[in-house]
Amino acid sequence: MRSTNQISERDAPFQLRGNSFTVMVLKLMAPDDPSFFPQLLSKIRQAPNFFKNAPVVLDLEDLDEGAGPADFIDFVVTLRQNSLIPVGIQGGTPTQQAAAFEAGLTIMPTGRPSREPERDFQRPAPGRAPTDPLPPRAPMPMAETAAPEFQKTTMIITEPVRSGRQIYAARGDLIVLGPVSAGAELLADGNIHVYSSLRGRALAGISGDTSARIFCHSLEAELVSIAGLYRVSEDLEKTVFKKQVHIYLDDGYLRMDPLA
C-alpha cells in the first residue's frame, strides 16, 4: 500500500511523499554479548550483497530494562562499519529510546502495520547523525525475504452486483465496475473500489487491515465497514450521500471524505 501525499504547489522545489519500504528488522537479544558482532559478521558474509548498506530497524522489544547496548552511538557506528545502516528502533524503554534518538535513530511504531512514523520528536541534529553518502534504500532481494505473508490479488467484477449476491476478494482488493444493489455484499481483505453506485454493503479490510479503504462513485450504501468499524446508512452524513466518496480509518475513526 502506497500512500502518496503530494504538495499542491507544482513549482515547489520539493515534493513530500509518503512511501513504504520493506526493511529488515534486527532483533536484539544480547547486544553486549562479546560474540554478538562476530556472529552477525559471519551471517553477513553468507550474503554480502544482500546485506550491503541495507537499512535495518533495531528491535528492542524483547530486551530487559537496561539490557540495551551500553553505548548506542558506538553500537550504531560498529553496525555501519559492517555495512548495515540502522535507521530506527522499535520498542524499548523510554531511556533506551532517548539513547537511540541521541544516536540519530528514529523511533518506529511497533507492531505489523507499517504506517509512517509521525512523532513530535525533533529530527536529530545533522552534526550528530552518523554520516553516510548513501540514502537508505531497500535492496532488491530483501523484498523477497520480508514479503507480506500472502501474494496480493485483485478481483475485478465488470457486471452489476445484484441483491443477494456476496463477493469476497480474499487477500486483496475488490474492484467493481457496475452498480452494487441494495442487499448485495462486498467483502475484501484489501480495498474496495466501486466505479458506480454503491447501494449494498461494503466491508473492506475484513481480516483486520486498518489501512484498507473504500472508494465509490456514489455512496448510497446500506453499510460500510473498515476492519470491523462500521457505519450504517442511517448514520451517513448528508454531505457524502450520493457523492463520490473515499472512506478510511483515521485514528480509529471512520472518515468519509468527498473525492474532489
Binding site: E159, P160, V161, R162, S163, G164, R165, G178, P179, S181, A182, G183, A184, S197, R199
Partner: protein, 271 residues
C-alpha cells in the same frame, strides 16, 4: 431455432401470469408458434387466465413423470392460431419438477415451436429456478415500487449465477424489463417510482411499460389474454413490448399522464 423465454419477478402478484398470457398471445399473433408453460406447480393459474381451465386433462407434471405424452397435455388455444398452453398440476408441489424432466420436455418442444415461454412462480426456490434454468431470454416483471424492484434485482442475480447459461459459461441470458401496473399520475404525485428510477437500479434494457388498467383484471376474470382486448391500452403496451422483443423500434408510451387533447383523441380512437 426455438427460444426459451422465462417470465419472472421474484415477488408475487406483480403480473407474471398476466404478462405471460399476454406476451405469448402477442407472439402467436405475430405468426410465431408459441407455447406457454405454467411452472407454478400447486398454484395453477395460467389456464384460468388463458380461459382453458375446463379443457385440462393431463398436465406438465404428468408429462415429466411419463404418465402422459406431451401432445396429450398441450392445449391449443381456440382464438389464436399457433398458440398452445401447457398447464401445470394443482395437486402436486414444486418437487415434482426435475431438471432432467424439464429439459426433456423443453427439448421436445424446441422441435416444434418458435418460442417457449415459461411462466415462473414467485420466489427464488425450486419452481422459479426450474423455470429460469434453461432460459435464453428473461423478461423481468416489475412494479414501480421498492420491494418489487429489489426482488427483481435478486432474481437478476440468480439468473446470472444459476441459469444453465451461467453454469456452462455461455453467453448470459438476455434480460428485459417489463414494468407493469404503472400509473403515470401516481408517479407524478411521487407515490410510485419513476421508470428512470427503476432503470437506474436494475440497469437492464426496458422492454415496455404497461399502464395500470382495469382491463387487465377484467381480462383475467373472463379468461382472455389482455392482448386480445382491443380496447385496452394494456393491450397496446403488450403488443408494443412484443414488437420490441422481436427487434422492432417502437417508441415507449404510457409513461406520462395523458394530456387533455391527447386523451380525447385517444378515447375516440379506442372507443
Amino acid at each position: 431455432m426455438a427460444k426459451v423465454i422465462v417470465m419472472t419477478s421474484g415477488k408475487g402478484g406483480v403480473g407474471k401470469t398476466t404478462s405471460s398470457a399476454a406476451f405469448a398471445t402477442g407472439l402467436a399473433l405475430r405468426g410465431f408458434k408459441t407455447v406457454v408453460i405454467d411452472f407454478d406447480v400447486g398454484l395453477r393459474n395460467l389456464d384460468l387466465i388463458m380461459g382453458c381451465e375446463r379443457r385440462v386433462v393431463f398436465d406438465f407434471v404428468n408429462v415429466i413423470n411419463g404418465e402422459a405424452k406431451l401432445n396429450q397435455a398441450l392445449i391449443k388455444d381456440k382464438r389464436v392460431e399457433n398458440l398452445y398452453i401447457l398447464p401445470t398440476s394443482q395437486t402436486r408441489d414444486k418437487d415434482a419438477l426435475t431438471k432432467e424432466g424439464v429439459e426433456k420436455i423443453l427439448d421436445e418442444l424446441r422441435k416444434d415451436f418458435d418460442y417457449i415461454l415459461c411462466d415462473s412462480p414467485a420466489g427464488i426456490e425450486k419452481g422459479a429456478l426450474m423455470a429460469l434454468y434453461f432460459a435464453d431470454h428473461a423478461i423481468i416483471v416489475t412494479n414501480p415500487e421498492v420491494s418489487s424492484v429489489r426482488d427483481s434485482d435478486r432474481i437478476l442475480g440468480v439468473l446470472a449465477s444459476k441459469s444453465r447459461r451461467a453454469e456452462l459459461n455461455q453467453e448470459p441470458v438476455q434480460e428485459h424489463l417489463l414494468l407493469t401496473r404503472y400509473d403515470p399520475e401516481r408517479v407524478e404525485r411521487g407515490d410510485m417510482l419513476k421508470v428512470d428510477d427503476v432503470l437506474e437500479i436494475l440497469a437492464i434494457p426496458l422492454l415496455g411499460v404497461v399502464p395500470e388498467s382495469t382491463a387487465v383484471l377484467r381480462a383475467s376474470n373472463i379468461g382472455m389474454p389482455v392482448t386480445l382486448d382491443e380496447k385496452s391500452n394494456a393491450n397496446q403496451a403488450y403488443t408494443d413490448a412484443v414488437a420490441r422483443f422481436l427487434g422492432d423500434t417502437v417508441e415507449h408510451r404510457f409513461m406520462k399522464p395523458e394530456k387533455k387533447g391527447f386523451f380525447e383523441r385517444f378515447l375516440r380512437r379506442t372507443a
